[in-house]
Point group: C2
Chain length 483, copies 2
Amino acid sequence: MFDFTIALQANSKTPLYEQLYQAIADQIRKGNLKYPDLLPSKRALEEMMKVSHSTIETAYSLLSAEGYIESIPRVGYRVNRRIPMPFTVLSMAKPGMDRIRSVSGSKTQEPKEENADRYLSFSTGDVDTSLFPYSSWARIYKEVVYQNPDLLQRGEAVGDLHLRKTLAAFLNQYRGVVCGPQQIIVGSGAEYLLGLLIQLFDEDITIGLEDPGYPAVRRILTNYGRFYLSLDMDQKGLKEEQLYQKKIDLVYVTPSHQFPMGTTMPAERRSRILSWAEKCGGYIIEDDYDSEFRYRSRPLKALQGLDKAGRVIYMGTFSRSLAPSIRVAFMVLPQELMKRYQQKFGKQSCTVSRFEQQVLAEFIDRGLYVRHLRRCTNLYKKKEARLIEDLTAIKGSFVSGQGAGLHFLLHLPSVSREGLIRAAQTYRLQLHFLDEYAEKAQMPYPILVIGFGGLSFEQMSQNAQALTKAVETAQEGQTLRSQ
Amino acid sequence: MFDFTIALQANSKTPLYEQLYQAIADQIRKGNLKYPDLLPSKRALEEMMKVSHSTIETAYSLLSAEGYIESIPRVGYRVNRRIPMPFTVLSMAKPGMDRIRSVSGSKTQEPKEENADRYLSFSTGDVDTSLFPYSSWARIYKEVVYQNPDLLQRGEAVGDLHLRKTLAAFLNQYRGVVCGPQQIIVGSGAEYLLGLLIQLFDEDITIGLEDPGYPAVRRILTNYGRFYLSLDMDQKGLKEEQLYQKKIDLVYVTPSHQFPMGTTMPAERRSRILSWAEKCGGYIIEDDYDSEFRYRSRPLKALQGLDKAGRVIYMGTFSRSLAPSIRVAFMVLPQELMKRYQQKFGKQSCTVSRFEQQVLAEFIDRGLYVRHLRRCTNLYKKKEARLIEDLTAIKGSFVSGQGAGLHFLLHLPSVSREGLIRAAQTYRLQLHFLDEYAEKAQMPYPILVIGFGGLSFEQMSQNAQALTKAVETAQEGQTLRSQ
């Protein structure tokens, strides 16, 4: 039964909606309210509690986002059958469980990762922050703030020259990118830069995307009202004949480590795609999002470095190599596009704090970034190996796309997708299926996208055990039904 | 004569284009090359120097942006009559001359401020950074980095809850803004946020802008292909009847301190504009860009706080109150627009580094921001008073729009605009005329927009002297001609 005697304090620092949310969540956790109880209507609650409609609206939508309640059309809000684990249980999952966030944190994830905080998950979006160079980063920040009062004034719109010079040199040395600092644009995140980039092209161009691919890219294009086609891939990456057949003007690729397939585009395919761009005047967006991490082979040179005709836009980010919260990404534009950029956005202020631009530049200049990458690569290599080993417990499964980056694919043995999802839920494990990243591409059997960047070794084996059990449970269910 | 024996070093850390730029600038500064000498054609230089076309292109465009040379259509590049002052002379202008930037810095300014580095200027874009709280900022940053490893993970898309709570409380206390943290979106700069905001509205809405007004707002709307109308103003601000007559859907206003007029919208006009929005379902963007600084009167409550119907979008920034390089701005959306925002951009990562978000939140929470504002207000108040006094030397002039913010208007006595520009140039003084900020609005006589935020007291009197002399020179010229 709903307890209307909740005491809300108008003078508290905690907003009313949050007090209401907490009080109801508390009633649900204590079992006073349970499935299939209905919550009072918003209007009733408004009358009884004397709070505003929007307070209730917000509290209910938080409860709903957090998985406590669900909206039943034309009925109202009902307590869920499975409610989220209370905080106390979650915090036992430490150490390394650094992904527990504040109440409203989970609202902002990609849909697949919704409520991921409350579940075990092989999320692809997190990185290991245990190696973050706290002390050198904070020390350099302090130096920069003290030594350079000029940095408080507005900087260059495309990013500070110091950082752009450093990036040009670094990218040349480590990725074979050939560019001058005047071709680089620094911005707060690859998504932001991609949004600017597509505005440099006519509205009616045809954009080709890898399928499966990054959902964020589709989302951004849709937001800008742009038209895209999903392109087929094989083991070598995007099949280039479609670029001709479908009259693509701009194609987005992840040649170093395809997201989410994990494949690396071999040199021969690269040169075919480049020659398409040169012949047809197409442009290629090369997103080198996690090229920093390779565990088995030397990385191939970036497409950009092979491009003699100025057809490649190279994009990179520090979200994975440093931390997702440090919002520094960059793109390298061919001269022709840089002119368009300057015309359209030349006066738009850079979105990255100059302090952090300079800290990053110094961090790279002093060799600390390369050292940091080396440490991270060692750690991720060990993690990947361990997780692959842990997953061998799943009989008949195999992995692909490993050896680089922070995720790989797990091909599952014969098991129904629905049965697996149901079984995984009982182990509080959230799964990311490859087909969630696909628009048209069909998978012959369930394939999981397994991210490990943000997981500790303990979490990895916990997750692997849960997955193993879930697969077994699902298979038993199938056997039982078929008997 | 152009000296082709320039020695460029391929192995140097300095890129070739910069070496070339420096060498040519040097020839010009030494007078070996001077007006009206022509530079060799790009092709000739390419052949002689054995460098790439793009190296030469870049060097020439730098020289051109810096004011050394100018492009004469179908002729080539010619050395300018007036060349920029060499660095050595500029650096004599210290102390406080903190606006000397690296060579390519000046390319990224608003057009009016181009080459401002080389000139004296009453720029409106700079702030006084001498009071920046270096030590507390760096100390808090260090604390935040060390104490909160969770901050390395991806944060909430709309900005960290901590910062949004702090902002909601601060805005309520100091600006009368009424909102919860769930209505706030944090982003890296007001321009960035404005770009997102307008995408929440249909493409065919009619947007009304103050005229004169912010050039950046027009630029952003144009970039997004949006249609706007320039609206007339009087001493009280925007004349509200036009909102009805021109069927405006969304209007952008700066009621606290109109940019660039400097007027404050009185309460009565505010309520008329609000009642338009309520009656017609219009939306109001209230840009409160420099409301922190008032020298004579208490600030009026923000429009947002008076709005009962959810029609006001409130925008603010820390660019002026802290530093332009700290890219933190925010907007407060009515619930209805927040829903649209969540649908369209809910998954778009926040563009501000979480470290800096937390530093700012702590900085405000600990009362350091209010203390900083108090200090800045005292300093700016003194600066404004001094500059107005210095400018009384210009006979027949008067100021308006003073008493708040970092700029005011200077109404000049009878003098021709062209004569004044010419005279000002001989004193190396760059002027910003009010009509440069206008689309349709006509000025009966020359009015200057006088920014003082980034000027030291010495620079202010230097600028005021130069302006006084320029006005006198221009008036003498007129007298001579009319004799």
